[in-house]
Amino acid sequence: MNRPELQAMGERERERQQSYRCRLLCCASTPCLSSGATAVIEALKQFVKEQELDADVLVTATGCMGPCSRGPLVTVQTRDLEDVVYEHVTPELARDIALAHAAPEPRALERNLLAADSPFFAKQKKVVLSNSGLIDPERLECYVARGGYGALANALREMTPVEVCEAITRSGLRGRGGAGYPTGLKWDLVRKAPGTRKFVIANGDEGDPGAYMDRTLMESDPHRVLEGMAIAGYAVGAEQGYIYVRGEYPIAAKRLENAIRMAERRGLLGGRVLDSSFSFRIDIRIGAGAFVCGEETALMASVMGRRGQPSPRPPYPAQSGLWGMPTLINNVETFGNIAPIIDNGAEWYAAIGTDKSKGTKIFALAGTVATTGLIEVPMGISLREIIFDIGGGIPNGRAFKAAQTGGPSGGCIPAEHLDTPVDYDSLRRLGSIMGSGGLVVMDDTSCMPDVAKFFMEFCMDESCGKCVPCRVGTVQLHRLLEHITNGSATPRDMETLEELCVMMQETSLCGLGQSAPNPLLSTLRYFREEYQAHILERTCPAGKCTMDHVPPLEQGAELQRRSRSTTSDSEVS
């Protein structure tokens, strides 16, 4: 396929879509599927068949539309009306929707309607997710109809690899995996690195609990990721790409596999991409359940079929990565930003966001917030806007307590910092990180030492065990937090705890160990009085912890108390 053929394909598909009077888009992303989307899609297809509307009504299973807690979702596009979105759609409701919209005089239903101008949609800005929820992820044509692979064609024909790297640098895009390293710089390093072969890896091992941005992107718009990888391959001089998909995401893997096959068949990937001299193959690697594989050196070990243990840097992957060759590793979401940057120009992209954090960021808004789901917002938006406008605030009349960003590597941000603009540097100053984009809201029923313990347990289970500070440090910190939450801690434990945190940050081998103390330190920073209440007063202010143990020195009295109660029990029985 060459560029005119690509354009023709897009044109044909657009005409085909226009020929329908009404298009019913049903979200077939994991959350909606779990709340019954399959039955809704079946009902709609059945309806079209019964009413013999095949020529007028198109039913499409799409990717994620955003407000996941309100699923199953159906978007209706009609020629004469604005697009409308329905929430909590049942098969019965689906028929009513179809009936109303497919009628010669189409009209929207009054119920289960999600207003397009509601803050949930109005405050978002969709760049990476611009196709998500609007296209059928299983059909290449749908992607091409919305301009897909145009950026790749453009880059291959009009730009040199240097120019591509420059464009990415000028856009100000930073890595979306968490650390926020400038993407253009990374590309340039790999481009310049000497090596007979080079590799591109898309990191889709989204391990943060409470985050599913990458999954959604891979499920909803797989070609977007592949196109970004291909452009990267062209820019750095790689002919082979790997996309590492988390094992928990079978649908994402299936759709990506399908997408790769389709793209290869049409000459958009594989040998001589778009009739150019550039070849680029992409293979999928399925993860097998190891959070540490989100770390780039561990991920590379895993791609090579080994134990996913990180190795010390330097050398960095850009110099010596897969099989010792220069390797570019970016997060899936980072690759999702590439095509829009090439399409619209670096300046357009750099105009979105803040001074040092450009563009948009996808967040998985979860926890105790009225509307949970997937959102894409411009950098610099405040947490308050995200949680209270987009998310609709805290349900059940409870009070906001903290927002957790960055997963097990991040921190908890308290109410007094709700107006902080969300960007890499502000979040870091608050002791948290942007991370991959998990944003879990907690209300006042959450106990912060308990939350810290939750994350420490996670890190303890996920530590690879290679370096001592992380392997044993996480266990010791978890023990200390256990003592704090069960009432057996002493004031000295606090000192040990804080000292150990700093030591782990400074001495651990990889990012997992270095950042494992972050949730603990940030809760200590903002909620120290809760820790003190647990230790000094042996009470849990949130009422979550059992506090049924005593410090070592008081064990004697406790044992006597218990043995008295057991003897009296046995006497009774």
Binding site: G556, L559, T567
Partner: protein, 185 residues
């Protein structure tokens, strides 16, 4: 510590928790240095002296053994309250050592194994409940129960090591053992 500097005799004690008394044997191996020790110090409490109550005011207490039962807890608490300087004396007090090898078992299983179902024994039922001091769930090194000011490792500590530490304490100096005296085991 003022008393020490003004030349008064140091009020000295040694205590024995969960250990084999080997550290005390090693203390006795100070031999003629014992004379020097007791010229500078009065022994107010020790397993080698027949004194029932831990005295009200002590300058230096050496504690052998790990904390393994409720009596140890109580004595450790008294020692801390009544001593100016508490020293973990030997590996059991410092690390838990052999005494703490039982930590891999639950107390009840341990008691069953050793006393209730041991080979060649009559089953004894819930012996000791209320008579023998109850075992605490995990044997702990002394510093995990009370604050400890100095540590003398070794199983047992060598008499030279003990003398090095004790003579520093008698002079009101902090215990700074040489590297070859710092070995566990």
């Amino acid at each position: 510590m003022t008393q020490l500097v003004t030349g008064k005799k140091t009020r000295f004690a040694t205590a024995w928790l969960g250990g084999c008394s080997g550290c005390h044997m090693s203390l006795l191996d100070l031999d003629e240095r014992l004379i020097e020790l007791f010229q500078a110090a009065d022994l107010l409490y020790s397993p080698i002296a027949d004194i029932k109550e831990f005295p009200r005011q002590v300058d230096v207490t050496l504690v052998e053994g790990a904390v393994a039962n409720v009596d140890h807890l109580e004595l450790a608490r008294q020692i801390r309250e009544r001593s100016h300087i508490v020293v973990s004396f030997g590996d059991c007090a410092v690390t838990g050592n052999v005494t703490s090898l039982r930590n891999r078992l639950e107390v009840d299983d341990l008691l069953s194994m050793v006393y209730r179902e041991g080979p060649g024994r009559e089953p004894r039922g819930r012996e000791g409940d209320g008579i023998l001091p109850a075992l605490i769930p995990r044997v702990l090194p002394l510093h995990q129960v009370i604050a400890v000011d100095a540590f003398i490792p070794g199983c047992p500590p060598d008499p030279d090591t003990i003398w090095e530490a004790v003579s520093a304490l008698l002079h009101g100096a902090p215990v700074r053992l040489k590297q070859e005296m710092r070995y566990f085991g």
